[in-house]
Symmetry: C2
Subunit: 189 residues, 2 copies
Amino acid sequence: MSPRKPSTKDLTKEMIINEAHKQFITKDFHQVSMRSIAKELGCSHGAIYYHFKNKAEIFYAILGDYFSELNNTLDETVNGPGDHNTKLLNVFVGYMAFGLNNQSQYELMFMIRDREIDGLSQEAANLSYEKFAQSVQSLSMTKLLISEIHSTFIALHGFVAHYRHYVKNYEEAKQAVDAHAKFLMKALT
Amino acid sequence: MSPRKPSTKDLTKEMIINEAHKQFITKDFHQVSMRSIAKELGCSHGAIYYHFKNKAEIFYAILGDYFSELNNTLDETVNGPGDHNTKLLNVFVGYMAFGLNNQSQYELMFMIRDREIDGLSQEAANLSYEKFAQSVQSLSMTKLLISEIHSTFIALHGFVAHYRHYVKNYEEAKQAVDAHAKFLMKALT
DNA sequence: CCTCCTTATTGACCAGTGGTTAATAATCAG
DNA sequence: CTGATTATTAACCACTGGTCAATAAGGAGG
């Protein structure tokens, strides 16, 4: 009745995710194909479908870590040193830096709304936004409108969505990031 | 030496563009295929390649009109009635409305930076941005920083990029559009 | 050891994509 | 009618995501 021992080193979910992740760092979702993953893993692309029901599922599995990273960055900024205004500014900078340093991932996390999301990535995105909203409110001197926080988020999102075509990482857009963060500070006070 | 008369009704560039445009209204760039265009036109998809060197060229040909429309909307708002502040607000609202009412087109105009742009769409996008920047400055009471105008544009872009996943047109996001426009007004004053 | 059952994997297949190209049909000029 | 030019087709290429019958690999029980 017992199944085959998983100890024998066949293809594992982990191996697939690792390989997909590896390629995902330099290519985007559409450029990483099931066949390119299989080829690098030395198996047929059909085998992958035994472990994942489709391509999206592989990449959604990867995104979990990135949502965590984004949330942690947020937490660390909020709970870190400095006055409220500085922290708030750093929350903005941190968000943009994350987006620019993880462009392929950011795209899948917040930009692609592929056919029939299982709500998987969608839910995590909403959670991240909630955390962002609460952090911004807690760091603000005054009571903010929900729409103000939302507009702020959208403005940050717009920055990442725009600059990812022109820079490879945060470093290359540092000045613009700072300016945008200050612009948003002004809008909130 | 003269070629065949173009008067005979074969396949024309115009017919192809019209059909592509027609499908482009309800589907996005990736969903409209050379074969779907050819099928509707009653020709083989290979024939299209005689008139256009590739798929992108067809769609870039379409975008010209949309850039014009966007620019015209901007002009009309600036030269229309109302005080400066109201006009400025309407510039913001107009931009977002355009983006939400022409989502597929907006995507190609400002979001997709496909492999090796000929600078075709890129250039038009820059021109549109320049027009926007000048309009905003001319309507503003104070001298604005370039970075402020840029941040404003990016915030508008972010709004469209975000909301296009949730609404079908401007009407459905009217409230949020207004709030966002007011938010940006606050940031600029 | 041998059979049975489960799991994991292959490779052929499907329908679709953008793009190329040799052959050919259609048309015109001389 | 002949020859040149243009426009079109259909077969082809190399891809994509996805499915599935056949099968290899291994463990459990007799």
